[in-house]
């Protein structure tokens, strides 16, 4: 550990605000990059499942149908 204390690490001789904000923005973007497609995938599967249930009885499974 280069810094002696937590406060020093946060402060970084006055540069702390810049360094930490850069890292937090990056964390935000990375989280979005990972989270957004996973959420889209879950949501899509849920939608499709609902769609299949709605059409059940009318169409056999796997048949093509209008969206």
């Amino acid at each position: 550990m280069y810094f002696n204390s937590l406060a020093a690490a946060l402060q970084m001789d006055g540069h702390g605000a810049f360094v930490w904000s850069a890292y937090f923005i990056t964390i935000g973007v990375v989280a979005m990059m990972v989270y957004a497609p996973r959420r889209r995938e879950q949501r899509f599967l849920r939608q499709l499942e609902g769609q299949i249930r709605r059409s059940e009885g009318g169409n056999p499974p796997g048949a093509s149908k209008e969206v």
């Binding site: 850069a22 599967l45 499942e49």
Partner: protein
Amino acid sequence: MWTLFHKFGSPPWLYRLSGSILRWLLPITLLALVGGAVWGVLFTAPDFRQGNSYRIIYIHVPAAVVALAGYYVMAIAGAVSLIWRMKMADIAMRACAPIGAALTFVALVTGSIWGKPTWGTWWVWDARITSMLILLFLYLGVVALYEAYENKALAAKACAILSLVGTVNIPIIYKSVDWWYSLHQPASIKFTGGSTIDPSMLYPLLFMITAFYCLFTCALLLNMRVEILQREQRTAWVRALANKGAAG
């Protein structure tokens, strides 16, 4: 070789493969990102000229490097899609653009934040930052073109051509911007050269670059999975997956 190639063209196979890859790659990537960041921020000595603000390098440079590489990945996927008409290449190309744009955005924002303590201003028309800005434009152009086409199969082909044109142009743009900057460069502003970097700073940097490559791979696979499901939504295997997802 060819069987592997054909397997890559098979959506269910790719979907399952990406699932099993992500299961271990994603946690490792996130751990590596956190570990590398901690290493870079807390365990390295400050730069003798820029002080602690240089610690932004551990995200700025990896993001910039991977964003640039991402453009080439996109162009290669585009070439594959044009030459062999592989659907999966279309999907990979489509998935690259937003990820690359996000990474370019990170590189720009962190570069700007880095600029404030270093140069005293949020934005400097420095060669590297200007090039990153142009790269962002190139990515956004691909996204805009894709969205403008209603027929998504054609959209992918059009984007493939655009990204190939971009691949040829990027070295020219970078060189010309470099040259332009050296012509107009004020003497007081100097960037620390990458080649003179101390090993104690270099290792965490290389580590972070690797981690960002993994991040790119993960994000690419995650985005491709959604796209595969949407394109294949009428097939039996996707429907089975949806039913299973609802039951489980």
